[in-house]
């Protein structure tokens, strides 16, 4: 009998805690090895947001914070599926979204980058996957912005995501990047991921979901940790 539960983090694709090129990991990474524990109902349960009523415009960041007009920038539509490692789609799971505006500025008070705020763009939203594990939302393509990690450091364009999946072991916070971004090869946050995992963080341009005269489309799928394989009964 194999043990029930979720696969552990796949350390071949997941980033380590200590990644010295990303300087703030040095003082914040645990230094001692993690203690592996047997999963129980304590870990194999988690919050369920299925009964939460999302706002009517939560899935449309181009409209959910308008004050006196449309936000500036390039409208995009992002869509995809949420899967587990076994290829099963995950229905009714919450996807939270936040990002910089087209100029590369976050609404967050701590962000002091000298680029304009957009009065018509907050940069946050959320969506629930449907019965097929599918999600779609509208936003403005986020701009690149400088940060203090090293001389002339710039973050590539990216959108932040937070997902839960079925229990707390499947929790995922990540960032989606855009194809062909020349900043990726210089970004210690992206490069903190082992080479085998990096492509999984780059969305694909998707002409199929691109809306004529309206918005470019991008496809991005999420894969959360899956159940351990259950053995077939031998007769």
């Amino acid at each position: 009998m194999s043990e029930l539960g979720t696969n552990l983090f796949d350390r071949d694709v997941q980033p380590p805690y200590l990644s010295p090129d990303y300087k703030s990991t040095v003082l914040r990474a645990p230094s001692k090895p993690l203690v592996v524990i047997r999963q129980s109902l304590s870990e194999l349960t988690g919050p369920v947001f299925g009964d939460i009523n999302l706002g009517a415009l939560d899935h449309d960041l181009t409209r959910n914070a308008r004050k006196n007009g449309e936000p500036m920038g390039e409208r995009i539509v992002v869509h995809g599926y949420v899967y587990d490692e076994n290829g099963r789609t995950i229905p009714n799971t919450l996807v939270e979204i936040w990002q910089a505006n087209a100029a590369g500025r976050y609404v967050h008070k701590v962000d002091q980058h000298d680029a304009p705020l957009d009065p018509n763009f907050l940069g946050t939203g959320r969506v629930m996957t449907d019965a097929n594990g599918y999600y779609k939302f509208y936003t403005i393509k986020p701009g690149a912005y400088p940060w203090g990690n090293h001389y002339n450091a710039w973050r590539p364009n990216h959108i932040h995501f937070s997902l839960f999946g079925p229990n707390i072991t499947t929790r995922l916070v990540t960032q989606m990047y855009f194809p062909g971004d020349p900043l990726l090869q210089h970004d210690p946050i992206f490069l903190g991921v082992p080479p085998k995992g990096r492509e999984l963080l780059i969305s694909c341009f998707d002409l199929g979901v691109t809306e004529p005269n309206f918005a470019l489309g991008y496809r991005f799928d999420f894969v959360l940790r899956g159940n351990k394989a259950t053995p077939f009964e031998t007769v």
Partner: protein
């Protein structure tokens, strides 16, 4: 399929994940009230601070709490309190799967490419703690990092990312 790699929550998560706590104009889906302390006579307060390797306070962490016994969830950032405390209002959980009462704690911050998990145990559960399989797996000299301190109004649970009191983190 390969797991989607984790990336840091970064410094600017507040208006997306805990907007009301940080006074942004967006509805929060989760906050620090697992119970409403005004309605719940057994409500307790759990608070704490997060420290880096130099013992300095971390002002941009986000803490999530999962109480698997009562199936309640909370979320709070360390950026709004003058001492960078997180605070949760909840009730003490009962035992799950025969384990000592505990809360799951998930920690996110700039400088973590992937989140950390730990557990909060209660100091007034000595007998149950002594039998707890997870606590017993932890080296004896590090167990105290998982046990909250009792104070007048509740419990204090500080999280040390490194250093002599480095909190035990779990691979779950």
């Amino acid at each position: 399929m390969l797991q989607t790699p984790s990336q840091t929550v970064g410094p600017y998560f507040a208006y997306g994940l805990v907007p009301e706590q940080y006074l942004y104009d967006f509805k929060s889906l989760a906050d620090n009230q697992l119970v409403n302390p005004l309605d719940e006579p057994d409500a307790i307060t759990i608070s704490g601070q997060v420290f880096d390797a130099k013992g300095e306070l971390i002002p941009d962490a986000m803490i999530e709490i999962w109480d698997a016994y009562n199936r309640r969830f909370g979320r709070f950032g360390t950026g709004t309190d003058a001492q960078n405390r997180f605070v949760f209002h909840t009730v003490k959980p009962g035992p799950v799967d025969g384990q000592a009462p505990h809360l799951n704690v998930i920690i996110f911050m700039r400088g973590q490419l992937i989140h950390t998990y730990t557990r909060l145990y209660f100091p007034d559960e000595e007998a149950a703690n002594a039998q707890d399989a997870v606590l017993n797996q932890v080296p004896a000299d590090r167990r105290s990092t998982l046990i909250a301190r009792q104070t007048g109004s509740g419990y204090v649970f500080d999280i040390h990312m490194q250093g002599g009191h480095e909190t035990v983190f779990f691979d779950i």
